[in-house]
């Protein structure tokens, strides 16, 4: 059974204080790993897909990296508007495109 663990559950940072969010996974035959951002009361918004170990992708202050067992979402010099819950979802391809989501990291950036 696919398992996904995100840590920490919650993280409070000062504006400009860089940090990393972790997504550890156990899936058979990873076909891709997705990162989403979710604001309160809204649907998840797609950020990145990573396909193979060693791959990195960047978008503004966010950079996602992937190893064989985990993915990191690095946030550099965050701003208050980066406050959100960040979700990861590895895809093993079992059952069409069904995704197994982690429970997310709730990130708060204080001005």
């Amino acid at each position: 059974e696919d398992q996904v663990t995100q840590s920490p559950e919650a993280l409070r940072l000062q504006e400009g204080e860089s940090s990393s969010l972790n997504c550890s996974y156990t899936v058979s035959g990873l076909r891709g790993l997705f990162w989403y951002r979710q604001d309160p009361g809204k649907g998840p918004e797609f950020l990145f897909t990573l396909y193979s170990a060693g791959e990195e992708k960047e978008k503004e202050r966010l950079k996602a990296t992937l190893t064989k067992k985990e993915s990191f979402l690095h946030i550099t010099a965050p701003k208050p508007e980066d406050s959100a819950t960040y979700l990861c979802a590895p895809n093993s391809g079992g059952g069409a495109d069904g995704l197994t989501f982690g429970k997310g990291t709730h990130l708060i950036i204080q001005p």
């Binding site: 997705f34 495109d97 989501f101 429970k103």
Partner: protein, 114 residues
């Protein structure tokens, strides 16, 4: 831009009522999904569909059914709503070209069953 819309943002129903949640996507996607999201449990897949009139059970299908009569529309049905179905319901769609398709989500429907 992909657009996934859901018929209601907020819905309040009574126990035993039949409830319909509607989802429409405008990008000719093959796959559509229904998830529910609960605090501490994350997103869980209820049902998905990879073609018109086709449906597959997800991880928690009990108490739900779905309908896909047209490619762009995917409906989630609660035959007899219960209080434990109070939740945020999220619809998603993906192109359908392979297992690494990106899923795009709608804004969600917050359902309260009294």
């Amino acid at each position: 831009d992909v657009k996934v819309t859901q018929s209601s943002r907020y819905l309040v129903k009574r126990t035993g009522e039949k409830v319909f949640l509607e989802c429409v996507q405008d990008m000719d996607h093959e796959n559509m999904f229904w998830y529910r999201q609960d605090p501490g449990l994350g997103l869980r897949l209820i049902y998905f569909s990879y073609d018109v009139k086709m449906k597959e059970k997800g991880d928690i299908p009990e108490g739900y059914s779905v309908s896909r009569e047209k490619k762009e529309r995917f409906s989630l049905i609660l035959e007899s709503a219960s209080t434990n179905q109070t939740s945020m319901y999220l619809c998603a769609s993906s192109l359908g070209q392979g297992v690494t398709d990106t899923q795009y989500f709608g804004p969600g429907t917050r359902l309260t069953v009294l």
